[in-house]
Amino acid sequence: MAKLRTRKHKVVLSRGAGGDFGINLFLVLMGTFMFLPMYYVIAQSLKPLDELWMFPPRFYVESPTLSNFGDLFTLMSENYVPFSRYIFNTVFISVTGTFGNLLLSSMAAYSLAKLVFPGRKFFFELVVKSLMFHQTVTAIANFLTMSNLRWLDTYYSIIIPAFCTSMGLYLMKQFMETGVSNEVLESARLDGASEFKTFWVIAMPMVKPAWLTLMIESFKGLWNAGSSIYIYSEQLKTFNYAINQIVTGGIARAGVGAAATVIMMIVPITVFIICQSNVIETMGSSGMKD
């Protein structure tokens, strides 16, 4: 047996210097690979016109300017659908969709995690199965459903399906199972609280990390929603769609495109920074039993 390393009576885990070096090198290289493109967008968005047209292209900015952001707003206000409309669409879809998802998923999750009734296993199994295929599979049939419901080209076609993400229910249910103690619920019921009240007043505040996670999951999907086969009207299209139009507009719009991308990415990243510790806490219970 290897000699046990201890320091102040605590076991010291073996960490070879070579391994440490290799791991740090790997992290630095991968981190650079991940970060450089992000940095490049930000740099591009701050470059004045003459620096954008410089050869060879540079990674740093000599005289940063916000003019690209100004140009973005001018460009978008000349569009026949005003810029603000795209932003409104994205914000409206993201907020309502996320809120509905939170409400419906936590209600269903509470029922599946904390109540015993025939069929609960079946329903949960179904949700887990649905995590296993990508939404492209359902797109065609949903197009027909939307068309029958006369929801094509309305906000409903985007918002309502966002209410029932399997991921949201899954994470919420897993977290409630460990994060909400049955004793507390039991005593609330003995005090005469209705099941719904127990859920709303007792359980929900206990799973705050999970609903922050669910919100970020749902929000990132909706915020980043681009063009959809359910929407034709320019007035109903999203910010992300508008940005793609600008960015793919080529070099002439490089700075403006970068500015738009920066606006687009800054929101989810900020939300994540705020919620990070809660998200990690929720993910702790995300494991799947086989």
């Binding site: 591009q44 179904l126 492209t136 993910m283």
Partner: protein, 315 residues
């Protein structure tokens, strides 16, 4: 309440048939169904029903205008025997999924493991650096700027400047490069929910297990990882695998955004694009449904296989 009802029902269970008992239990738990209903109604409408409908439609020639005719397996036969582009798409999809799936899974796990021993502050910064590309929407379009086809793209500019190439390379318009580039970009955006789940899983492994391991003769971090960490976080590994597989089949949007649709010589044409082509543009819903069903079967199959494999870890 639930304890009492459970006790009561188990005594009366013998006197009733199973069906009656179930019905009684269901009535007793009305609230449970009531709370589950809003989610489940939508879930069935937009996730379960589409799968059933797709399977049914895949046997017909439904095109949204005429009454559908029953074709039985004709759509599938046409896909596999007559549709060269589908075969190309299937091949591309498999290459794409077989690379991005495992690589993103292993990268997520390794990086999560490597950053696990950093201090909490540094760890959250590093987590953000790796996670950010996956939540930043269409930020992946920056790759188009980096690999722009003129000399103002950073890659072309640098290569030209170094004299490695004489003319700007049309990266995303060149059939030799598109697939590789798309895979790189897809990987760049792929450290998502599974990555976070691994980070959390690693943090939950109790330290005393490692200490016990060290006492039992675990010599280095690799053994520790293999014998202690991995078996302990198997549920997370399972969850991450499901997400990685699903994700690896869903990169169609990135490909379309980067290479346009259709991509040059169909070099990055995937099943998702083929589906969109027939469903979203030609309205051949029956045929598109057959494509969707194949995609569905492949994804469920891959998941089942991987799940079986993972359940062997640490046994």
């Amino acid at each position: 309440m639930s304890n009492k009802t459970a006790a009561k029902s188990s005594t009366s269970k013998k006197e009733m048939s199973k069906l009656q008992w179930t019905w009684k239990e269901m009535k007793k738990n009305k609230t449970a169904y009531f709370m589950l209903a809003p989610f489940m109604i939508l879930f069935f409408t937009f996730t379960v029903w589409p799968v059933i409908l797709s399977i049914v439609l895949s046997f017909t020639d439904f095109n949204m205008l005429e009454m559908p005719n029953f074709l039985f397996l004709d759509n599938y036969i046409r896909l596999f025997l007559d549709d060269d582009i589908f075969m190309l798409a299937a091949q591309n999809t498999l290459i794409f999924a077989c690379i991005t799936g495992p690589v993103s899974y292993i990268l997520s796990l390794l990086i999560a493991w490597f950053i696990n021993e950093l201090g909490p502050k540094l760890r959250s910064v590093v987590t953000l650096v790796f996670y950010a590309p996956s939540i930043s929407g269409s930020v992946y379009l920056v790759w188009q700027t980096l690999f722009s086809s003129d000399s103002y793209g950073w890659v072309n500019g640098t290569l030209l400047n170094l004299g490695l190439i004489d003319d700007a390379v049309l990266w995303f318009q060149d059939a030799d490069y598109v697939m590789g580039l798309c895979i790189v970009v897809a990987l760049w955006t792929s450290l998502g929910t599974a990555f976070l789940s691994f980070i959390a899983g690693l943090q939950n492994v109790p330290r005393h297990l490692y200490e016990a391991g060290a006492v039992d003769g675990v010599k280095n971090r690799w053994q520790e990882f293999w014998y202690i960490t991995l078996p302990y976080m198997r549920p997370q590994l399972m969850f991450g695998a499901v997400l990685s597989i699903t994700q690896s089949f869903g990169f169609g949007a990135i490909v379309t955004a980067l290479c346009g649709f259709p991509s040059v010589d169909y070099a990055a044409h995937t099943i998702m694009h083929h589906l969109d082509d027939y469903g979203g543009q030609r309205y051949e819903m029956g045929y598109a449904s057959a494509i969707a069903v194949i995609l569905f079967v492949v994804m469920i199959g891959a998941n089942t296989l991987i799940k079986k494999g993972l359940s062997k870890i640490g046994q």
